[in-house]
């Protein structure tokens, strides 16, 4: 491990070579919007919100999967990036059936917050209104695919942390959907341990607990840091996490 120095938005900062640009930016209070990223899960670079400009490179780089290099000069907030981020949120909004007014996570939703973040006044693309399924067969939880943004956090937490690999993605392109086991009703899944991790990591109201009504559900995600910390360091001290 080595300490590198780089420049983010004109400020000289330092970071470790095994961290991502996103880690380093956050340590220095530089806000980069993210959606598929979640601390404690592997990064996939799929949502493209955290793209940053690197001086001397024509391509944009996702901050979550890009490692720093000595002397790197990075910009995270150019007009171009802001415009692209807004377009990404527009595309996501048009892709699903997102009705905040009737959603359990209204006011606690990451997609909603991102829409405010990028000042999304309206969506210029026609809404696609896909026909997606709601599955309420599980005893405790519901998956409403209308609200899914395909960030795959549920797939990753189920595979990487819980080890059940109940969830995966079926189909491709715009027809991608999150499936349980053989694309069967969640309640009939043999592999699901009903641990609820997927529900907690879901950024939107696509996965939620039964018995909650509009705007009632806030997702508690501290558990993930706790588990990952315990796994990697064999330390079970919750205070340490809270300090971070």
């Amino acid at each position: 491990m080595a300490i590198l120095t780089l420049t983010i938005n004109g400020e000289h900062v330092s970071g470790k070579d095994d961290e991502s640009l996103l880690d380093i930016a956050r340590q220095h209070d530089v806000h980069i919007p993210t959606l598929c990223h979640l601390d404690g899960l592997s990064d996939v670079g799929a949502c493209r919100l955290c793209l940053v400009e690197v001086e001397g490179q024509s391509k944009l780089f996702p901050a979550c999967t890009t490692k720093p290099q000595e002397g790197m000069v990075i910009r995270t907030d150019t007009e171009r990036l802001k415009k692209y981020r807004r377009t990404i949120i527009e595309l996501l909004a048009s892709e699903g059936n997102h009705q905040c007014a009737v959603c359990v996570v209204n006011n606690h939703c990451e997609l909603q917050n991102l829409a405010y973040d990028v000042d999304l006044q309206y969506v210029r693309f026609p809404y696609l209104y896909p026909k997606k399924e709601l599955d309420a067969t599980h005893e405790d939880f519901v998956i409403d695919r209308n609200r899914c943004v395909l960030c795959t956090r549920c797939v990753r937490v189920c595979h990487e942390v819980e080890g059940a690999h109940t969830w995966d993605i079926a189909g491709r392109g715009i027809d991608c959907t999150i499936i349980a086991d053989m694309n069967q009703p969640w309640g009939t899944s043999a592999s699901c341990t009903s641990c609820g991790k997927c529900v907690r990591v879901c950024p939107t109201g696509a996965l939620f607990e039964k018995g909650q009504t509009v705007a009632e559900m806030e997702k508690q995600r501290d558990f993930l840091k706790y588990i990952v910390h315990a796994r990697q360091k064999r330390e079970w001290v919750a205070e340490q996490i809270e300090e971070e």
Partner: protein, 544 residues
């Protein structure tokens, strides 16, 4: 197997061929087979038997002879006469008149001085149409595996890489990355196990170069991969080939079997320390698997979803090991470079784009088929000399290169040389070699829409810009094509195209907008002609 054994095999094969007075070569590539070349073969055999010539004349199936639109194609070995549209009747006549009476059958004759042949230069395809694609002996007799023998007995790994580097060969899959450089990186990468992969997932709809090489000269690829394996220090190779190419798969399987039998694949090849095996992996219908990280995932038995690079496969590829990935045509160039030297190869083409390029010529053009030309040849020469121009009564409008990732090149840019950089300046790419000609009947908005539908359908769905963006680009094109769009929609289309290009995760999304941007650049008027007449209030009232 030693070099002496190899030479002996070659001599024995040449001896065998001399036992025949003549050879009838029929094209057994997929194009001609679908025109009925198997019936032609049977007709030849029947007719030769009737005339008592079956011991004197050998009938053999070869790789693609090029003029796929006029199949089945047949060549008479003794004087290299080429015949087109040889059905069963024509086959009988060729035996009767040409073989027995030395009179050429005028009706089916192809003029050898036709510019279709005269302007070509064959390196990759040199064996196609000349040797029996299913015989390793014929490949060896044509000089096959000499390069591998030379490398393993005379050259160090670095010398092989150096030779490839000096040849100036660039990746033929589309992007044109210098091959030698790539090999050097994999050679230097740390790892006990390394892999060599041949990308034969020719997904560009309108291209069949790789298929023709695999069907016509499979050993060429095996030899190229083995050379690569030696150079970078890999002992295992994979060929990732499309399931849509059953004949190529069969011929590759056979070729691998033959090569293993002769010890040209396996342990201690040419009695060196070099071991190398090749396995086939069959694709399953996903264009995105032409992208290297997606292809690797697919070989690992997973959904073909690309991942961000870096790390590049040369450092972290198949099963996390350093991996060399090249395309079919790239590997096909390796043996000739080692045999004839990098200086020879570098003298062909242009200084920055050396060697030749194979193109699949199709669409509204007289001569459709497979061609190989030196790099730097003017596009006009390909279309009008080799291709013979558009069919009677129609006018050339544009040539499309690079398929769904490429662009359209209009008439006024036809004099550009065909090399990586020049094609990029007009907003297209070399691509893998598909070249589709459009005439005055083709509507460019519909062409763009066609490609966008393809890309949206082939998007893996991982990243947002490609998954949703390509869908909206398609919907905007559909709106324009149906006469329901306004000038604002064109502006939005352009903005979205640039966004998808710059923010998508992999090459599929990054290049998917190219056909739209390129047709907007050269044929914008065709878009604007389709706009709906603006209503009065819409002209005065501006949308926010």
């Amino acid at each position: 197997m030693t070099l002496e054994d190899l030479n002996e095999l070659a001599e024995k094969e040449l001896e065998r061929q001399k036992n025949f007075k003549n050879r009838l070569l029929y094209c057994s590539a997929a194009g001609c087979v679908s025109c009925g070349s198997n019936a032609t073969r049977d007709a030849f055999k029947k007719s030769l038997k009737e005339k008592g010539l079956d011991k004197e004349v050998e009938v053999l199936g070869t790789g693609c002879m090029g003029l796929c639109g006029e199949g089945p194609l047949v060549k008479v070995g003794s004087d290299d006469t080429l015949y087109q549209r040889v059905d069963e009747n024509a086959a009988a006549r060729i035996v009767d008149e040409h073989l027995l009476n030395a009179n050429k059958v005028a009706e089916n004759l192809i003029n050898p001085d036709d510019p279709f042949f005269a302007s070509q230069m064959k390196i990759v395809l040199e064996n196609c149409g000349k040797i029996n694609a299913e015989s390793i002996e014929e490949y060896i007799a044509a000089g096959g595996y000499q390069a591998l023998a030379k490398a393993l007995t005379e050259m160090s790994q670095d010398e092989v890489i150096d030779e490839v580097r000096k040849s100036g060969l660039r990746g033929r899959g589309g992007a044109g990355y210098p091959t030698g450089l790539k090999w050097g990186i994999v050679r230097k990468a740390k790892g006990d196990q390394k892999y060599v992969i041949c990308n034969a997932d020719e997904g560009d709809p309108g291209a069949f170069m790789d298929r023709s090489v695999l069907e016509g000269d499979p050993h060429r690829i095996l030899e190229g991969m083995a050379l690569a394996g030696y150079a970078v220090g890999a002992s295992q190779g994979y060929i990732y080939v499309r399931a849509e190419y059953p004949m190529a798969i069969e011929r590759l399987k056979l070729a691998i079997k033959h090569a293993e039998r002769l010890g040209l694949l396996g342990n201690r090849i040419f009695e060196s320390q070099f071991n190398f095996r090749i396995d086939l992996r069959i694709g399953a219908g996903a264009f995105v698997c032409g992208e290297e990280t997606a292809l690797i995932r697919s070989i690992e038995g997973r959904r073909g979803r690309p991942r961000p690079r870096p790390p590049y496969p040369s450092e972290k590829g198949l099963f996390g090991a350093p991996t060399l990935l090249n395309n079919v045509e790239t590997y096909a160039n390796i043996a000739p470079i080692i045999n004839r030297g990098s200086a020879w190869f570098a003298s062909i083409g242009t200084p920055k784009s050396t060697g030749t390029k194979v193109f699949a010529l199709a669409g509204k053009i007289k001569n459709t088929g497979l061609i190989e030309v030196p790099m730097g040849i003017p596009l006009r020469k390909i279309i009008f000399d080799i291709g013979g121009g558009t069919p009677e009564g129609t006018e050339f409008k544009a040539a499309q290169t690079g398929g769904p990732s490429g662009g359209c090149i209009p008439n006024d840019h036809l004099d550009i040389p065909v090399d990586y950089e020049s094609l990029a300046t007009v907003g297209s790419i070399m691509g893998s070699g598909g070249m589709i000609v459009m005439d005055s009947e083709s509507r460019m908005v519909d062409v763009a829409k066609y490609f966008m539908e393809f890309c949206a359908d082939e998007s893996c769905g991982k990243c947002v810009p490609c998954r949703v963006g390509t869908k909206h680009i398609y919907l905007l094109l559909d709106k324009i094509s149906n006469g329901k769009a306004t000038q604002d929609d064109i502006a939005l289309l352009e903005e979205l195209c640039v966004m998808v290009k710059e923010t998508s995760l992999c090459g599929l999304g990054q290049s998917a907008p190219n056909p739209v941007l390129s047709t907007l650049r050269f044929f914008r008027h065709e878009y604007e002609e389709l706009l709906k007449p603006a209503l009065h209030f819409e002209q005065s009232e501006k949308s926010r």
